[in-house]
């Protein structure tokens, strides 16, 4: 019986949460193979852990994974996808106070703007949008790191003039009112992939069957998550410890991110993102093909 070391994070990996919380629902977990779960703060440390060989598979953002490839000699396959921005669904956006004089992106000049991670995945599209509106992201604004969890407070307290918003915090802030959306990432690109599942290439090559079983379970986990919202709310509540009433307001609803029913990675979209990063100078040009395994990729049955 083999073990696979998996890194995960919060808040939007419902299929993995199902695997953690409802292993009995998956015929293989605990029987043909084991999973050793380790939770991380954000995707960047997991990239390091992958590069160090301390993890076999982990949740990744396109940017962190690409950074690992460029800087860390990491070779990995994208085997599944967790969430992306669907048309009409939630898109990470920058909010300002209702009474703020900032009406357009161009008004951000000279302002303090919060972003969850400087140099993180959202910064590429963000930079692109700013540039398109004549704002130099390096000189014209003061960028500060504000985690999603404190975004709303930072904005209301006036510590920042504009700040990015993500679920579930966006839902909470909207419920309270007083803030408005300035622009969202979908304006830069309609189908941004936020998080995906990546496995170390050497590990996949050595244990193809094991990884196959894992990807199979991710696929079926995604299915279960989408099929049984009631139960998914419970599962997510157990993992996130966020109260169900809060989750109820957005999770798997229209104002949430999109989830592919087969957890299939959207490689063209990822390629587009890599291009944006290259364009904004955050990465050299990369070809998404290197992340593609010929057979082991969701959906797998």
């Amino acid at each position: 019986q083999q073990t696979i070391r998996v890194g995960w994070t919060i808040p939007a990996e419902e299929s993995k949460y199902w695997m953690m919380r409802r292993p009995a629902e998956f015929p293989d977990i605990g029987k043909t193979y084991n999973i050793e779960w380790t939770q991380f703060q954000g995707t960047a440390p997991m990239t390091q852990a992958l590069a160090a060989g301390a993890l076999d598979c982990a949740t990744q953002a396109p940017l962190s994974l690409a950074n690992g490839v460029v800087g860390g000699n990491l070779k990995a396959y994208i085997v599944a996808q967790h969430v992306f921005e669907k048309a009409g669904g939630f898109s990470v956006y920058w909010a300002v106070m209702d009474d703020s004089p900032i009406k357009t992106i161009a008004d951000l000049k000279g302002k303090t703007v919060g972003i969850s991670v400087i140099g993180g995945g959202t910064q590429g599209p963000f930079n692109l949008l700013l540039k398109q509106n004549g704002v130099d992201p390096a000189k014209d604004i003061k960028l500060v790191e504000v985690g999603f969890a404190v975004s709303e407070d930072a904005l209301r307290q006036g510590r920042v003039d504009a700040v990015n918003m993500n679920q579930p915090f966006a839902a909470r802030a909207e419920a309270k009112g007083g803030t408005r959306k300035l622009f969202s990432l979908s304006q830069a690109m309609p189908n941004i992939v936020h998080i995906l599942e990546a496995c170390r290439a050497d590990f996949v090559d050595k244990n193809p069957e094991l990884v196959k079983a894992y990807v199979r379970d991710i696929t079926s986990g995604m299915k279960k998550a989408l099929a049984n919202r009631e139960e998914t709310l419970k599962v997510v509540n157990e993992v996130l410890k966020a109260p169900i009433p809060v989750l109820e307001t957005y999770l798997l609803k229209d104002n949430d991110f999109g989830r592919d029913p087969g957890a299939a990675p959207n490689f063209p979209a990822i390629q587009k993102m890599l291009d944006i990063y290259a364009e904004t100078g955050m990465l050299p040009k990369l070809d998404v093909a290197q992340f593609k395994h010929p057979t082991i990729v969701a959906p797998l049955q």
Binding site: G7, I10, T38, V150, P168
Partner: protein, 261 residues
């Protein structure tokens, strides 16, 4: 019959805690800010955490790591500190090394530590070990340095070897100072127990806390903070008992005639 003064003294910790909570309550009400919940909100969240079996297991896992890290740190640091205190050469050898190693934040070395030690218990225990050993080494060091020489001479004249002198004279003579280091070490053990789980998390008290932080569940964050504080009080009370037993001989004979009361 307990005198009113003694009663007041015994009740003082209670009053201080209540006062602390009151200050918190007022401050949070005044600041009106979601990420700083009121004391009452935080206290209300405690039963949820302690009532959850999984959380309890998590907390116990953290405590186990802390106990192991603390134990190893004390066992390693006291001899090292004493040796440094009694030998200029040993001190000259280790001092710069320690001063180069300690200021480096362990969080920054995570990638490399993960490379060799993985992301499991060993890494976190190591972080706790480093946190605890810092004060223990330096207090042992200074304690050993201040041991009255003539006591050592007396021991040497009785035929105690170098090692015996270290164990049987320097150790007890420096014990009050060593225990001061252990007390600080205990504080740091609790802190590092939590922070060691900030980046790579498995089961643990820090896991609960930082998850809640990431999720903006501030009542849970502060409830965890209260729980850690309570652990601090308990461990500290136990420690003070042990300390009082061990160093009764060194307590000042008379009350400090300085009281302003």
């Amino acid at each position: 019959m307990i005198s009113p003064l003694a009663l007041a003294r015994r009740a003082a910790p209670m009053f201080a805690c209540i006062g602390l909570l009151a200050v918190w309550q007022i401050a949070s009400l005044a600041l009106k800010n979601d990420s700083f919940p009121t004391a009452i909100e935080a206290i209300r969240a405690i039963p949820d955490i302690l009532g959850d079996k999984e959380s309890l297991i998590n907390i116990l896992a953290s405590l186990r790591r802390m106990a192991i890290g603390f134990g190893i740190a004390v066992l390693v640091s006291i001899p090292l500190g004493l040796l440094m205190g009694r030998s200029r050469a040993v001190a000259a050898f280790f001092n710069p090394l320690l001063m180069v190693i300690y200021p480096v934040p362990k969080a920054a070395l995570m990638p490399i530590i993960m490379l060799w030690l993985g992301v499991g218990d060993i890494t976190k225990t190591l972080v706790i070990f480093l946190g605890v050993s810092l004060p223990v080494i330096y207090h042992s060091f200074e304690g050993a340095k201040a041991v009255e020489e003539k006591m050592l001479w007396s021991g040497a004249a009785m035929g105690l070897s170098l090692l015996q002198r270290l164990i049987r004279i320097v150790l007890p003579a420096a014990l009050p100072e060593i225990l001061t280091g252990c007390r600080t070490g205990l504080v740091l053990a609790l802190i590092t127990m939590i922070t060691s789980e900030m980046i790579a998390r498995q089961s643990g008290a820090g896991n609960i806390l930082f998850n809640a932080l990431d999720m903006g569940q501030y009542d849970t964050v502060y409830a965890m903070i209260i729980i850690v504080g309570a652990m601090g009080i308990c461990l500290d009370a136990i420690f003070e008992r042990v300390r009082a037993r061990l160093v009764r001989w060194s307590e000042p004979q008379f009350d400090m005639p300085l009281s302003f009361s």
